[in-house]
């Protein structure tokens, strides 16, 4: 009988320190990811509360729950918070931060201090946004269209703009960090075409963040200049051009849509391959599709402006480019579907989220074609059709993928398993709640109900009531994970390093991982998704 020497298991990153100080001064990408997750969860539910108010008001055609002013502030707050404080940082700053170094076999990101600084910028931007809310809010819509935002709105536009300006730098620094990390810190043997698709999506999104976000910062500064000092840039009374603002704004904000959806595509590629125990179908095409979307994404902003007074010919060019960008998205949907072919498909919660994503993303993407077609967009733009379309992408797509990713990597992040039954229930409830909320909005838009309406004509009520009913279910489905995930932290079963029998490098280390991720730097000898 041999004696086995008991080797103490390596301390995990969670056991590095327990005090508040150890968290607020950490340079560990995994801890920073958790800091982000806390902030993002807070803002998600705050933005959700604003959406709940909006849906509640719209149950009846009359504006009877709140004043028009309050309603306008509610949807503006919902938009600002969900776009800049939830969707844009959601996957990159939490899952990206946590997983990127693990997936490429690195000890941390390239600039750990800058990473922490990014989080403080995020918090700083959040503080201004909350201050704006507490002082009375802003009523311009998240798009800050001029000259309403610069000369007519009497609400706290500047505070909101400052908040968004600051949080923009958080995303620029995160993008910079990711680009350098992927270029310089890949483990031996981790060549570019051995990168998991999630890493490719982080690379693409980081490029977009670094290139597009400065334009947002510039545009917001110009708003502040005009509002504070009356410098005529966008207001025609001062010699400016309000349509110029829309060009600037969408030059950032359309790529921002891809900042939100590319990471979701990356997550889903990991989830589907692990769920189906199958190599991704058409890996290289998936990579080219990611890059194609990121590049062409910079050239389609004008499709937001077909009726804005843009030239007829410019609109034709933006229209054809918008159809072209739909091709790589289609490639991705077909490849995910084909990955299931001859797979060994399990239906754990992450897989349910991923399958839900593919369905909802497809509906959102295809309805985008209607809006890319100039002649149809004339009728549909600025109606609920657009609202439904982008919620299918942003909520049906990005949020489903984010939650799917959180479930998939939860055992890696916390070392615990959650209740599978509850998680599946929440995923299915979310899918149905989502469709009930947003599908009626396609019909509303098609029948001509404009968006951002506090009151509406009685003929639109049926679909609005259905939508609000769906929102109730959706809200409940979003609350569920808070409880069972929190429960799992204490009571969940120990996960072990690789509960899904997945192939990524992140599954080769302990759960939760040690502070520097790997006991030894791994050497990579094969491509990603080494399933069958």
């Amino acid at each position: 009988m041999s004696t086995v020497e008991r080797v103490p298991p390596p301390r995990s990153y969670l056991e590095e320190g327990y005090g508040l100080r150890s968290w607020l001064t950490t340079h560990d990408h995994k801890r920073i990811a958790i800091l982000y997750a806390l902030g993002i969860t807070f803002f998600f539910f705050l933005g959700g509360l604003a959406a709940a108010l909006v849906r509640l008001e719209l149950v009846t055609p009359a504006g009877d729950l709140m004043s028009a002013e309050t309603y306008n502030k509610a949807f503006t707050f919902h938009g600002v918070v969900m776009v800049w404080f939830f969707l844009i940082p959601s996957i990159p700053a939490t899952l990206g931060n946590f997983l990127l170094p693990l997936m490429i076999g690195a000890r941390d990101v390239a600039f750990p201090r800058l990473n922490l600084f990014s989080w403080y910028l995020y918090v700083g931007g959040g503080v201004f946004t909350l201050l704006c809310l507490l002082l009375g809010g802003v009523d311009t819509g998240w798009t800050f269209y001029t000259p309403f935002s610069t000369l007519f709105s009497t609400s706290h536009v500047l505070l909101a703009v400052v908040g968004v300006f600051i949080v923009g730098f958080s995303s620029i620094f995160t993008g910079l960090n990711f680009i350098v990390t992927i270029h310089t810190l890949r483990a031996p043997g981790m060549t570019w075409f051995r990168l998991p698709l999630f890493v490719w999506s982080m690379y693409a999104v980081a490029l977009v963040m670094v290139l597009a976000t400065p334009v947002l910062a510039m545009t917001l500064s110009l708003i502040a200049l005009e509002r504070l000092f009356g410098v005529g840039i966008f207001d025609p009374a001062l010699g400016g051009d309000p349509v110029l603002f829309q060009h600037f704004f969408w030059f950032y904000s359309h790529p921002a849509v891809y900042i939100m959806i590319l990471p979701a595509m990356g997550v889903v590629s990991e989830l589907i391959t692990a769920g189906a125990r199958r190599r991704i179908f058409g890996y290289r095409f998936m990579v080219y599709a990611i890059i194609g979307i990121a590049v062409v994404g910079f050239l389609v902003w004008g499709h937001h402006m077909f009726v804005a007074g843009q030239s007829m010919y410019a609109s034709i060019v933006f229209s054809i480019l918008s159809f072209i960008i739909a091709v790589p998205s289609a490639i991705k949907v077909f490849n995910w579907t084909a990955t299931l072919y001859r797979g060994d498909i399990g239906f754990d919660a992450p897989m349910l989220y991923a399958l839900g994503f593919v369905g909802l993303f497809m509906l959102g993407g295809l309805t985008g074609l209607f809006l890319a077609a100039t002649a149809l967009d004339v009728n549909l733009t600025d109606t609920y059709f657009v609202v439904a379309h982008f919620h299918y992408i942003m909520v049906g797509g990005a949020v489903m993928a984010y939650l799917g990713g959180i479930h998939f990597w939860w055992p890696k992040i916390t070392g615990r398993m959650y209740s599978e039954a509850w998680a599946r229930f929440a995923a299915i409830l979310m899918f149905f709640g989502f469709n009930l909320t947003f599908f009626p909005q396609y019909i509303l838009g098609y029948e001509g109900m404009p968006r951002r309406y506090h009151e509406y004509l009685p003929q639109f009520q049926v679909w609005n009531v259905l939508s609000s009913a769906g929102a109730t279910i959706l809200g409940a489905a979003y609350l569920l994970p808070l409880f069972y995930l929190a429960w799992s932290l204490r009571h969940g079963a120990r996960a072990g390093p690789n509960p899904w029998d997945a192939r990524g490098l992140e599954w080769q280390t302990a759960s939760p991982p040690p502070p520097h991720n790997f006991e030894q730097t791994p050497t990579v000898t094969e491509g990603p998704y080494a399933y069958r």
């Binding site: 004043s67 007519f152 179908f281 007074g309 229209s319 239906f347 002649a375």
Partner: protein, 311 residues
């Protein structure tokens, strides 16, 4: 396919394109969903289905790259064809001028007829709207016609259509324009050509609350509160008996008392979306005059204005 009336010459063509794209997308959705469900059932974990290793399929990839591309280009071409028509008014189109303002549509017909929040047009004749805004960006949207165009300050934008059936159709503002954006709607009234001609000539005459209206100009109220004013002030149309949102988030019913207070103590309740710039008229205006003004304000409705201006 739709419950919206097809009331312009564009509407059926736009709907055909919509239906074609809907059919195409529907086929894609059904195809992908069918494949997903089939794979999920057949290759569920533990099933006995045969599972071969994955192989590269360049041909398959190219097929589902190029096929959608070709179909998309087809839809694009169809759409552009229609788009150019939508954006190119015929030379003989009848111009009508539209001025948007927070939160109303003012329409001026070339012969001098004016209306607010309504637009009367004849059936079968191309109409070209020439539009501008006095303040922020608005958007002129008539769903039944399938037309929409943003209306910009200090710049003219155009929209044209030929109405094809008589009736009353909704007009909406589709671009968020501030507090009462959702109330900035009206009606497009399409009439048979003979009825339209009669309408143009009609001299509907109702008096305003004459004294109040005179005072309204005498005291300079109209300088700020008229729709034509460059000052950003409420236009006071359809005010009486309606709820007014205030800048502190509360609401007030516009009764006689509110109207009187607003003249004498304008800083007391500031209407949402406006700066508190109105001077007080306390001590400068007699009680009877205030009553006369309030009486006038009670009649200051778009409906009254509409008939009045064609007298």
């Amino acid at each position: 396919m739709n419950t919206l009336p097809q009331a312009s010459s564009f509407a059926p063509d736009v709907d055909h394109l919509f239906d074609a794209l809907l059919l195409l997308c529907g086929l894609v959705v059904v195809g992908v969903f069918a494949a997903m469900i089939f794979f999920c059932v057949r290759y569920r974990r533990g099933s006995a289905a045969e599972r071969m290793p994955a192989r590269a399929h360049l041909g398959v990839e190219l097929t589902w790259t190029l096929l959608p591309f070709v179909l998309f280009m087809g839809i694009f071409g169809w759409s552009v064809h229609l788009w150019i028509r939508l954006r190119t008014p015929p030379k003989d189109a009848q111009p009508i001028y539209v001025v948007a303002k927070q939160w109303m549509w003012k329409v001026q017909h070339p012969d001098g007829a004016r209306e607010i929040d309504t637009l009367h047009v004849p059936v079968g004749r191309p109409i070209r709207l020439v539009m501008t805004s006095q303040d922020v960006i608005h958007s002129f949207y008539v769903p039944a016609f399938r037309v929409k165009q943003d209306v910009l300050p200090d710049r003219y934008t155009e929209l044209w259509f030929t109405a094809t059936q008589a009736g009353t159709f909704n007009l909406f503002c589709a671009e968020f324009c501030g507090t009462d954006h959702s109330r900035m709607h009206g009606e497009v009234i399409v009439m048979a050509p003979a009825d339209y001609a009669r309408w143009l000539q009609a001299h509907a005459g109702i008096g305003l609350a004459a004294q109040g209206e005179r005072l309204f100009r005498q005291f300079g109220c109209s300088g700020c509160h008229d729709p034509q004013s460059g000052v950003h002030a409420p236009d006071l149309y359809d005010l009486y008996g309606h709820t007014v949102p205030l800048s502190d988030g509360s609401q007030v019913l516009a009764d006689e008392r509110y109207l009187q207070d607003s003249i004498l103590l304008p800083k007391k309740q500031i209407a949402a979306g406006y700066a508190p710039i109105m001077p007080s008229f306390q001590g400068r205006i007699g009680a009877e005059d205030v009553l006369a003004l309030v009486a006038y304000l009670k009649t200051r409705t778009h409906a009254a204005e509409d008939t009045d201006e064609h007298r």
